[in-house]
């Protein structure tokens, strides 16, 4: 049941709600699962100095990012009793309101999915070399920074 092999994490553009719904659907054959936990990162229309963000354009150091995603997966499977784990992150332009990060963990029991999901999301934010250019409605930009 464990699908530990590395897979492609990056997707060009936004992650659609249909893709997420379909990913949930595919897990309904895995009848040892009792609990799923899903994190979605959505692009906010932040207002900075009277200018409103209209999109974020993501780039990444892809080789290093894939290595880091792999390390995070291995660490999470080691620490938590997970049935499966999926991570998807956008590259390129993602408009406000669209989804740029989709993390999906599943386990027989619920306690473990809460801990595992937070661990994975925090590790992605801290350790994966992904860069985000916040594009304002007037086409100027600034660089996003995780905290």
């Amino acid at each position: 049941m464990k699908d530990k092999k590395p897979k492609s994490v990056f997707k060009e553009g936004a992650i659609s709600s249909e893709f997420i719904g379909n990913s949930i659907y595919k897990h309904q054959t895995k009848t040892s699962i009792g609990a799923h936990n899903i994190f979605l990162g959505q692009v906010r229309a932040d207002v900075i100095d009277n200018k409103t963000v209209s999109a974020i354009e993501y780039t990444a150091y892809e080789e290093m990012s894939n290595a880091k995603f792999h390390e995070i997966r291995e660490a999470a499977f080691e620490k938590f009793e997970l049935t499966c784990m999926h991570i998807y992150h956008s590259l390129g332009k993602v408009n406000v309101g669209e989804i740029c990060l989709f993390v999906f963990v599943s386990s027989p029991r619920r306690k473990v999915v809460f801990e595992a999901l937070e661990f994975i999301v925090e590790a992605i934010k801290a350790d994966v070399p992904i860069f985000g250019k916040e594009i304002f409605e007037d086409s100027t930009h600034q660089w996003k920074q995780n905290n």
């Binding site: 974020i56 150091y61 994966v128 070399p129 860069f131």
Partner: protein, 77 residues
């Protein structure tokens, strides 16, 4: 030593390129950075980390790698 240096995000805006191949004779990451600072003076004003062969390294680290990357603050998610 032949080194590929990669630039990302706001760092690539300053260098105006995403990658370059340098012939370099220094021995540490720090020496390489000094060389890049003199080439791209605005680099000094920016916050970044350095990766050697896809692992973050300190400035005093010995330069062994084929690929060095200058990584501005991460913004994943």
């Amino acid at each position: 030593m032949r080194i590929t240096v990669r630039y990302f995000g706001q760092i690539a805006e300053i260098t105006n390129k995403e990658k370059e191949v340098l012939e370099f004779s220094g021995h540490t990451i720090s020496e390489l950075m000094e060389s890049l600072y003199s080439k791209y003076t605005l680099l000094k004003t920016k916050d970044f980390q350095v990766a050697q062969n896809q692992e973050l390294v300190a400035l005093k680290t010995e330069l062994t790698g084929q690929e060095i990357a200058l990584l501005p603050p991460f913004a994943g998610g």
